[in-house]
């Protein structure tokens, strides 16, 4: 353990604060401040508690929602018996164990990583876990947030603690300012392309530098969200005034004197001058362009106007074959069938505003199916108040109810075998958006540009 007199990183400070016990030769017992739960990875954990006759240690630190297998069609009609059973099980578990659940009938429901921040549950300095790898999203607030398996969900429900080996630290510093038409999504896709899908294994990433400081909270969430796609346990951005302005007055944020005290504490969190990271990587924001993935993992991305690379490995050969693309050819101009705007990566109001800039006054190209799925009901209401839903509908896109939808394709929202989708989600794995479907990951701007042109298009030409 580092001596307290040495300069500490943001991660060091949160970690140290939350270590409950650390026996020799064992992982640390780490306290968890907020446990988020959804329907897919929790039923086995609650079943485990029942089998052991255990209850929740701190039910008030656990919050549940339904997002993965929920319908996004108007009226929320569940056509799938298994999905219905899973949703009913979560509702029952929450009643039986005394957990707050934003269920199907709640107007505060949404994707777990969208509602945590918007309700003010996510706060700087916290430890946050969820049985979902995109929990890293909450790191945008300077919280140590990471995904866990269902056994660990059971551990946290029972003890409010987890056994954790201390991760290493990786600084990703992004200097300069993002050029026009280049977004947080492009930035994180460029980071993953640079360090690879296992470049962050064993590490917690802290994103630093002027380009990160200049991002609003929603953009920071997009960056942290995809830390897992580089293999990292978590992604962090130090809290600052942007963070506090976002959080102030939100439902579960501290109020009055508590707020003042909290902000004073949070101001102590950023990494100290001279704090050391195990590894540092530097990118120049000015040099970034809109990014798009061509392959079957999120590290297989290129600047949109580049030609496809040569097949440099077995994995890339496999990806070219699955995607039915040829090395060395351009991707711009490639016809597409489906566009998906949404997910915990890009389903927030700022993302929808970006997409709407492109859709405004244009029409979705003939034969292209376009889904716009808000990340939560709060996002949906805000978008409708701003008239964004009219822009999407007038353009010929489908405006849906909130949920994970076509990012994970568990709820019937999916692409067909052989189809190409441009998607603002986080994973282009084989079959991720539907068996045999092919996914290009990109920003909301690039996705919308593909929708209105029917092909892969540099969105800067349409801004």
């Amino acid at each position: 353990m580092k001596s307290p007199t040495l300069p500490q990183t943001l991660f060091d400070k949160i970690w140290q604060e939350h270590v409950v016990a650390h026996d020799d030769g064992c992982p640390a017992v780490l306290y968890v401040d907020l446990h988020l739960v959804h329907e897919v990875t929790s039923p086995q954990a609650f079943a485990g508690l029942r089998a052991r006759g255990l209850g929740l240690r701190r039910p008030e630190k656990t919050v549940a929602t339904m997002d993965h297998s929920t319908p996004t069609t108007p009226g929320l009609v569940i056509v799938d018996d298994q999905a219905r059973a899973q949703l009913q099980q979560l509702a029952k578990n929450c009643v039986d164990f005394g957990v707050q659940c934003y269920g199907l009938d709640s107007d505060q429901r949404g994707i777990v990583h969208v509602i945590g921040p918007e309700l003010g549950l996510t706060q700087p300095g916290m430890t946050i876990v969820c049985g979902d790898s995109h929990t890293a999203t909450h790191g945008a607030f300077g919280a140590l947030a990471f995904g866990i398996g269902s056994s660990e969900v059971e551990h946290v429900l029972a003890t409010q603690c987890l056994l954790q080996k201390r991760p290493t630290s990786l600084e990703v510093r992004v200097d300069g300012m993002l050029p026009r038409g280049v977004t947080a999504k492009d930035l994180i896709l460029a980071v993953i392309a640079r360090i690879g899908v296992d470049g962050g294994n064993g590490a917690v990433i802290e994103y630093t530098g002027d380009a990160i400081r200049a991002l609003d909270m929603e953009a920071r969430m997009t960056v942290c969200n995809m830390s897992i796609e580089a293999g990292a346990r978590a992604g962090l951005v130090a809290p600052d005034d942007t963070t506090y302005q976002y959080l102030a007055k939100r439902q579960f944020a501290p109020k009055g004197a508590d707020w003042e005290r909290a902000v004073a504490n949070w101001r102590q969190l950023p990494s100290d001058e001279g704090a050391e990271y195990d590894v540092s990587v530097v990118l120049d924001a000015q040099a970034l362009q809109p990014m798009i993935t061509w392959g079957t993992n999120p590290g297989q991305g290129i600047p949109i106007n580049d030609n496809l690379p040569d097949a440099r490995s077995g994995a890339e050969e496999k990806a070219f074959k699955y995607m039915a693309l040829e090395p060395g050819k351009p991707l711009v101009g490639h016809p597409i069938d489906v566009v998906f705007v949404g997910s915990c990566t890009n389903g927030r109001i700022a993302d929808l505003r970006q997409a709407a800039r492109i859709f405004d006054g244009r029409r979705v190209a003939t034969g292209v199916r376009t889904l716009v799925v808000p990340g939560s009901y709060a996002v949906k209401r805000q978008a409708e108040a701003e008239g964004l839903d009219r822009i999407f509908r007038d353009a010929g896109a489908e405006w849906r109810e909130p949920g994970c939808s076509m990012c994970i394709a568990m709820n019937g929202d999916q692409i067909e075998a052989g189809q190409y989708a441009v998607s603002t989600s986080n994973r282009n794995f084989e079959g991720r958006q539907g068996r045999g479907g092919r996914t290009f990951l990109a920003s909301p701007l690039t996705a919308a540009a593909a929708a209105v042109t029917g092909k892969v298009t540099d969105p800067r030409a349409l801004l």
Binding site: V29, I148, E154, H155, T159, K318, R427, F429, G431
Partner: protein, 186 residues
């Protein structure tokens, strides 16, 4: 948890790098509320082409960064339910590795040279059999060469003694309560 000490088996090779948990168990099979029976859909979309489901080998010989992507423990349940007891690979994704250890599925990370040797030897001899000694954290090759693999002492003890992590955590009840009391005072 069931104790795991010695695993002796032939190898089922799946030599693709960066195998994500969506391939191990596709999301359409995650609507179950149980943890049994997932083996029937292990590598559902890769059967025949990449994954030989007819093999009864108990050790999967995999590529680099095995188990990346989604945190779904269903991937480990599916492998174990199918009958796998260990996975040998040059490296594993973090969450997969943690999930595997909680279910008695032993992640055996070997150096590239050892991996190449195993891959070549398996290509020559489909009956090639190796032994994993969890207590010693070694992989014993057919020529009896013993290759160590990393397994932290706690994980090893959990496997060989069948220690359940939740039981271990619950032994810290007093310290957890003290931590909470300290932080409640602010």
């Amino acid at each position: 948890m069931k104790k795991v000490e010695i695993i002796r088996s032939r190898l089922n090779p799946l030599l693709v790098d960066d195998v994500d948990t969506d391939q191990i168990i596709p999301a359409r099979f995650l609507k179950t509320i149980g943890r049994v029976g997932l083996g029937a859909n292990l590598f559902a979309d890769w059967r025949g082409a990449r994954f030989d489901a007819s093999s009864d080998a108990r050790i999967l010989l995999a590529g680099n960064n095995f188990g990346c992507g989604s945190s779904r423990e269903h991937a480990v349940w599916a492998l174990a339910d199918f009958g796998f007891q260990a996975v040998i690979a040059p490296s594993f994704a973090d969450i997969f590795q943690a999930n595997a250890l909680k279910n008695g599925l032993v992640p055996v990370a070997v150096e590239a040279a050892v991996h190449r040797h195993l891959v070549a030897a398996r290509a020559q001899d489909a009956e090639l059999t190796v032994r994993i000694d969890v207590r010693k954290s070694t992989l014993v090759l057919p020529d009896q060469e013993e290759v160590p693999f990393p397994l932290d002492p706690f994980a090893r003890r959990c496997l060989t003694d069948g220690i359940d992590e939740l039981d271990y955590l619950r032994q810290h009840e007093g310290q957890i309560a003290e931590w909470e009391a300290r932080h409640a005072r602010g």
